[in-house]
Symmetry: C2
């Protein structure tokens, strides 16, 4: 109950948002209630962009005192999943958002919302800036999506440093849920080699066994910020995200 | 003399760093001195990562008073180009870096370094956060790299909002140098259509005529943070970045 996991990476464009949306959707099929938090102030390009019909308000509005937590969560019709976004973050407000992340106010708000769900998945902005760190401070674990081309000792150890620092300063329990290889092109020798190298360098649990294949069908789903299941043409990726959900759930039982 | 241009985008992984490096290199061939600023605190994954042999210090160190501006710039052997990075930015320092961006200290430091070069190109972190805005505050113009798949009215107008706000608050002269289509796969019908749609929607100068092709050869160059010219196998992209340099220079004369 109330598990909070952040999807984060220092590199941009690696599939954080796609993962938060599709893993969140897959996890929600098992029941218990799943909340997806679009934590990226550039929400216009992410998950919350298609919430704009149902609500214009999000986390920023609660932080600024102009909305209540109840007003900003949008449940899906099947009741298994809910979404919440940052709301409108004008450039002028960005400083106070970063400050709210550092002070713990942003994390406390997410914790409050997460209490009503079995599982909360946070889509972080690219980088390891204040906003991302504010989410990590209240997370049980973090998922790091990486493309094969940048999958390396350096990428992973660089991110582990962020985890270690967060444990020392604000969240001693934060752990790496796993590194998720995304946009994997099995036909590309270089991709296959990159994955094998990392599997041989790190302990077995560091890399998820599930990898997400490069799937052009995902692009249309992403453009509409819709989980791949709900749009024909991205079955490979959709199936992989369901496998990932099973792997995540089995790891949770092992603690 | 002393022109400062920032390469920025809200979306991650669109080719900001690749553009800063390759456009900067191409522009430097014309003389006048070019400075490339790796403005991304995640420098370990960007341009400054291969500076680490020559210098461990960067902008952050000058801001923290532990290095001088002269110590942080690394000239290349041919003397036509120089590079400077953020230096080591520990998670604990991120807040003060964001504050230095908002106070104008970061921009003032960049201006001071830029005075010695005909052209300064800043590689910004993904997003339109405090650090990016701190660079825009001292820039003459901004280049927005976009992939065909996300090239849309929404992407461009969202970024124009950031430019308008920066003009109102700190830099009335900031203008859009142009939108640069990157990773363009001419064999993909969807890519071709996306570009044509935007060209028909916006005035002719908004999109650069030059587009950067998807070029697998660029990946090795990027991994080593080396301009494509210096590594065989990425000729298409290298040639396109030279064409872009010519286009940028011709636009400068038209003012
Ligand atoms: N498995 C996949 N196959 C093909 N395309 C994909 C896949 N996963 C993601 N994409 C596409 O790659 C692009 C980047 O994905 P996404 O937006 O999820 O990354 P991100 O890490 O959230 O980016 P940002 O750093 O901007 O937040 C999107 O256009 C998306 O549609
Ligand atoms: N024209 C191209 N063809 C093929 N690959 C490319 C091209 N341009 C960039 N890439 C690759 O795409 C990835 C992302 O590029 P890059 O790092 O320049 O983007 P970015 O916008 O700086 O990302 P970030 O948001 O993380 O700073 C890199 O692996 C790079 O090698
Ligand atoms: Mg995202
Ligand atoms: Mg970059």
């Amino acid at each position: 109950m109330g598990t909070i996991v952040t999807v984060a990476s220092q590199k941009g464009g690696v599939g954080k948002t796609t993962t938060a949306l599709n893993l969140g959707y897959s996890l929600s099929r098992f029941g218990g209630g799943v909340l997806i938090v679009d934590g990226d102030p550039q929400a216009s390009l992410g998950i919350a962009s298609n919430l704009k019909q149902q609500t214009k308000v999000g986390l920023m509005d609660v932080l600024l005192g102009r909305a209540t937590p109840e007003e900003i969560v949008v449940p899906t019709r099947d009741g298994l999943l809910a979404l919440v976004g940052m709301g409108r973050v004008d450039p002028a407000d960005l400083g106070s958002l970063e400050e709210a992340a550092r002070s713990g106010a942003l994390g406390a708000l997410v914790r409050r919302l997460a209490a009503g769900y079995g599982y909360t998945l946070i889509d972080a902005p690219a980088g390891a800036g204040s906003i991302t760190v504010g989410f990590l401070a209240v997370s049980e674990s973090v998922i790091l999506p990486v493309q094969p081309r940048t999958l390396s000792l350096k990428t992973i150890s660089s991110f582990l440093k962020v985890i270690h620092w967060t444990r020392r300063t604000s969240n001693p329990d934060l752990r790496l849920s796993g590194v998720l290889v995304t946009m994997f092109d099995a036909a590309r020798r270089a991709d296959v080699v990159a994955i094998e190298e990392v599997r041989s360098t790190f302990p077995p649990d560091v890399l998820f066994r599930t990898t997400i294949p490069l799937d052009d069908g995902l692009e249309e789903a992403s453009v509409r910020a819709v989980p791949a299941w709900l749009l024909p043409g991205a079955e490979h990726a959709a199936r992989s995200y369901m496998e990932l959900a099973l792997e995540v759930k089995s790891r949770a039982f092992e603690g």
